[in-house]
C-alpha cells in the first residue's frame, strides 16, 4: 500500500511539473520460479510492460511453491496481498475453497474489455482448473506431465530395441539389462503424482470419490481399491531384491540415478528436459508412460502438474482490467510457444502447440511433444481430468511416507495403500470441517 501511495504521489508530482508521465497501475505478481525460468518470467513481464503504457506488472520471486503460497496467504491475512499469485496444482482445492479471498479468472476475463475465449486452452489443462460447469478458476501457466525418460545407450547395449510400452515389457527389459550386467532398470520421482495419480488417470480409474473431489468436499480416497495398482506396486517393491528398481527419494531427488547412468529408465516430469540435457552424457529420449496391459489396452490420458495463476480479492476494478490484459498477453500463441520451447513445460493453448509445430520445434527436438501427446490422447474423463482434494500437500506427504514404508519392506503394498487412504481421509475430513 505504502509503495503504491508513494508511487502515485511521485507520478502526481511529475504531472504537476509538466512531464508527460502518466500514472501507471502496478500489478503485483508473486511467483515461485527461480533461476532461468524466473528470468524468463521477468522477460515476459518486461515485454508486456513495454507493449502498453497503462499497467506495470511487477514479478517477484518468493521461493518454493509452498513458500510462495504461504507468503500470499499471510499477506492476505494482513491485507497486503498481491494481485496475482502462482499456486501449484495440489494447492488448488485450498485456493478455490477460499471464497472471498480469490476471484475466479473466468469472471475477470469476461468482465474485462477484451476478446477472450476459454476454448483456446488444451482440454486436459483447462479441465484441471475449472469448476464442474466449465468455468476457469485460475489461469494455467506452467504445466507438465510425467513421461518416461530412457537411456538409449544402456538399452542398446542390452539389446532392448523398443522402449517398453507396457509394464510387462518393462520387467522383460529389466531382465535383459541384468543379463547384460546392469542392475537398475528403472526409478521414478514425485511418486504420488507419477505412480498413483497418473497411473490411475492413465488407466481411467478413480483416485477418490466425487469425481476425484471435483464434485464436493465430502470426497474420499479409493486408490487402495485398484487391485492392479496394488499388485504393480508390490511387484516393484519385490523387484528391489535383484536391484531392478531403486528408490531415490522424494520429489526430483532421484534424478542423479538417471543422469549418472545407474538406472536405465526414469519416470518423472517432462520439465526435466533442460536439466537432463545439461547433465546426461549419453543419448536419452522420452517416451509415454508404460501401460498395465492386464487392465487396459490403450491409455486414457495423463494428468498435469505444475502451477496456475490465481487472482486475489481486494483490489480496484481498474487493476483487474490490467490483470485480464496481462493474462490475455500471456496466453497469446507467440508468448506461449516461446515459453513452452524454452522451459520444457507443455504449451497451454492449442494455438501455441500448432505454432511450435509450424516452427519445426518438434522435428529439431524429437520427443519434446511426448508430454502434450499424453495429455491430449483422449477427451478427459471424470477419472483423468485431474484431482481436487483439500489438504493435498499433506496427503502427498502421507503417500510418500507410506510408499517409503513399502520400499523399506515394513509394509506390503496392500497395507501401505490402505494406511495412506485412512490417513488421507482423516485429512480430507479436517479440510471439510474447516471449510464448511
Amino acid at each position: 500500500m505504502t509503495r503504491k501511495t508513494t508511487f502515485t504521489a511521485m507520478a502526481g508530482a511529475l504531472t504537476l511539473i509538466g512531464s508527460a508521465a502518466t500514472a501507471q497501475t502496478e500489478i503485483q505478481f508473486w511467483h515461485a520460479l527461480g533461476g532461468a525460468l524466473g528470468e524468463k518470467v521477468g522477460e515476459i513481464a518486461k515485454d508486456f510492460n513495454a507493449a502498453q503504457d497503462t499497467y506495470t506488472v511487477v514479478p517477484t520471486y518468493k521461493g518454493t511453491y509452498t513458500e510462495n503460497m504461504t507468503a500470499a496467504i499471510a499477506a492476505f491475512r494482513a491485507g497486503e496481498q498481491p494481485h496475482i499469485v502462482q499456486v501449484f496444482e495440489v494447492g488448488t482445492a485450498t485456493m478455490m475453497a477460499a471464497e472471498g479471498a480469490i476471484k475466479p479468472v473466468q469472471g475477470i476475463m469476461e468482465q474485462a474489455d477484451i476478446d477472450w475465449n476459454n476454448d483456446a486452452y488444451l482440454p486436459a489443462v483447462k479441465s484441471y482448473y475449472s469448476t464442474t460447469d466449465g468455468d476457469l478458476l485460475s489461469l494455467p501457466f506452467n504445466s507438465s506431465t510425467p513421461v518416461m525418460w530412457y537411456n538409449r545407450d544402456l538399452l542398446d547395449e542390452a539389446g532392448v530395441e523398443d522402449v517398453p510400452q507396457t509394464w510387462d515389457e518393462m520387467f522383460a527389459a529389466a531382465d535383459k539389462l541384468q543379463e547384460n550386467g546392469h542392475d537398475c532398470a528403472f526409478s521414478f520421482g514425485w511418486q504420488s503424482w507419477v505412480m498413483i495419480e497418473n497411473y490411475l488417470a492413465w488407466h481411467d480409474q478413480p483416485i477418490g470419490t466425487q469425481q476425484n473431489g471435483f464434485a464436493g468436499l465430502d470426497t474420499e480416497f479409493v486408490f487402495d481399491e485398484s487391485e492392479d495398482l496394488t499388485n504393480l506396486l508390490q511387484r516393484i517393491a519385490d523387484s528391489q531384491a535383484d536391484g531392478t528398481f531403486e528408490y531415490g527419494g522424494r520429489r526430483g531427488d532421484s534424478l542423479p540415478l538417471f543422469t549418472t547412468g545407474e538406472c536405465a529408465m526414469w519416470m518423472n516430469s517432462s520439465a526435466y528436459y533442460a536439466g537432463i540435457s545439461e547433465q546426461a552424457d549419453f543419448e536419452f529420449g522420452q517416451a509415454m508412460l508404460p501401460i498395465n496391459s492386464d487392465v487396459a489396452e490403450e491409455p486414457q490420458n495423463s494428468i498435469i502438474g505444475g502451477a496456475t495463476l490465481w487472482v486475489l480479492e481486494g483490489h480496484d476494478e481498474a487493476e483487474y482490467q490490467g490483470v485480464a490484459e496481462f493474462f490475455n498477453y500471456l496466453s497469446s500463441p507467440e508468448v506461449q510457444a516461446d515459453w513452452h520451447q524454452s522451459s520444457g513445460y507443455v504449451p497451454i493453448t492449442t494455438a501455441a502447440y500448432e505454432l511450435s509445430k509450424e516452427q519445426g520445434f518438434y522435428e529439431e527436438n524429437p520427443g519434446t511433444d511426448t508430454a502434450i501427446k499424453q495429455l491430449s490422447l483422449n477427451e478427459p474423463t471424470e477419472n483423468s481430468r485431474g484431482l481436487r482434494f483439500g489438504n493435498y500437500v499433506q496427503v502427498r506427504d502421507v503417500i510418500n511416507e507410506e510408499l517409503e514404508d513399502l520400499w523399506a519392506g515394513n509394509h506390503t503394498a496392500e497395507e501401505a495403500l490402505a494406511t495412506a487412504v485412512e490417513r488421507g481421509n482423516a485429512l480430507l475430513r479436517d479440510f471439510e470441517a474447516a471449510n464448511n
Partner: protein, 294 residues
C-alpha cells in the same frame, strides 16, 4: 549468601533501564507466544476467513494421533543420541586438548570451527557426503559391503541427521568442557598423581565430579538444541522421511503450519513444545543452582 542491593536516586530510573528489554520480550516473545496460545484453541481455514472456537480439541486430537506420539518418541531418541554423542565426543577431545601444551591454539580453533556452520549448511554437507548415488561416504560404505540408502532405510536416515547434528554441536560442548577442565586446580590432580592414582582414576574421582556443573548445563543446552535447532538439518536432508523415521516434533510443527496450513494443530504443537522448554529451563535453574557444588 549476601544479597546485593543497589539504591537508585530516582524511583523511575530502574524501570527506564529495564524498559528496552521488557519491550523486546513483549514484542518478540510474549506476543507471539500468546498468539500461539490463542490459535491453538481455534480451527481456521488457511486464509482466516472462517474461524471456529474448538477448545481443547486440537490438543485432544494430537494425543489421540499415533503419528504424533511416534514423532514424540522419535524426538526423544534423536535428542538422547545427539546429546549423548556430542557430549561424549566433546569430552574426550577436551581431555586430550587439555593435555596438549604446544600449538594448543591451533587444535582448539580447528575443533571450534564447525560451530560456525549453520545447521542447514551442515545438513547439506552431510547430505552430499552420504548421497547414495553420488556421495563419497556412501561409496566408501558400499566398498565395505554396506548398501547405504537413507531414502529407503529409516535407520540410515536417522544416522544421517544424528551425525550432522552431532558434528556441529561437538564444538560447542568442547569449548565448555575445556574451560571446565582448565578451571580445575592443577594441584588437585598432581596430588592424586603423587598418591599413585592413574589417569583414569584421576579423571573419574577428581575431574568428572568437578565438571558436574558443566555436564548438567550442557545436558539442558544439548537437549534444547536437539529439540529445536536441528530443524535446518532435517529440512535440508530427510524432510522427515523415509516414512516418518525422522519426523521430529519441531519439523512437524513447521510442516503442519507451512505446508499443511493447519494453524490450529500447529499452534497446539507449539504450545506443547513451549511447556517442554519451560520445564527444561526450570529444571536447569533449580537443579544446577542448588545441587551442584564445587
Amino acid at each position: 549468601m549476601r544479597t546485593k542491593t543497589v539504591t537508585f536516586r530516582h524511583k523511575w530510573l530502574p524501570y527506564a533501564l529495564i524498559a528496552p528489554q521488557i519491550v523486546i520480550t513483549l514484542i518478540f516473545f510474549i506476543w507471539p507466544a500468546s498468539q500461539a496460545l490463542y490459535q491453538s484453541v481455534l480451527r481456521q481455514d488457511a486464509f482466516g476467513l472462517k474461524t471456529e472456537f474448538v477448545g481443547m480439541a486440537n490438543f485432544a486430537r494430537l494425543f489421540a494421533d499415533s503419528d504424533y506420539i511416534n514423532s514424540f518418541l522419535t524426538t526423544i531418541s534423536f535428542s538422547a543420541m545427539v546429546a549423548g554423542f556430542s557430549m561424549g565426543i566433546a569430552l574426550i577431545m577436551a581431555i586430550m586438548a587439555d593435555r596438549v601444551i604446544r600449538r594448543a591454539m591451533v587444535y582448539r580453533t580447528l575443533l571450534i570451527w564447525p560451530y560456525a556452520v549453520a545447521p542447514a549448511v551442515a545438513g547439506v554437507l552431510w547430505w552430499f557426503l552420504f548421497n547414495p548415488t553420488i556421495g563419497i561416504a556412501a561409496y566408501a560404505l558400499d566398498g565395505l559391503g554396506y548398501d547405504w540408502n537413507h531414502y529407503r532405510s529409516g535407520s540410515d536416515a536417522m544416522t544421517l541427521i544424528v551425525v550432522a547434528s552431532t558434528w556441529r554441536q561437538v564444538s560447542y560442548n568442547f569449548l565448555f568442557f575445556l574451560a571446565g577442565l582448565q578451571a580445575i586446580p592443577r594441584s588437585l590432580t598432581e596430588a592424586a598423581a603423587i598418591d599413585g592414582a592413574g589417569p583414569v582414576k584421576r579423571f573419574v574421582t577428581i575431574q568428572l565430579p568437578l565438571l558436574s556443573p558443566t555436564v548438567f548445563f550442557l545436558i539442558v543446552v544439548n537437549v534444547v538444541y536437539a529439540f529445536f535447532e536441528t530443524f535446518g538439518v532435517v529440512h535440508a536432508t530427510t524432510s522427515g522421511g523415509p516414512g516418518q523415521a525422522t519426523n521430529i516434533l519441531v519439523y512437524k510443527v513447521w510442516r503442519d503450519a507451512f505446508e499443511g496450513l493447519n494453524l490450529g494443530s500447529s499452534a497446539a504443537q507449539s504450545v506443547i513444545l513451549m511447556i517442554l522448554v519451560i520445564a527444561l529451563t526450570a529444571i536447569q535453574f533449580r537443579y544446577i543452582e542448588r545441587k551442584v557444588e564445587y
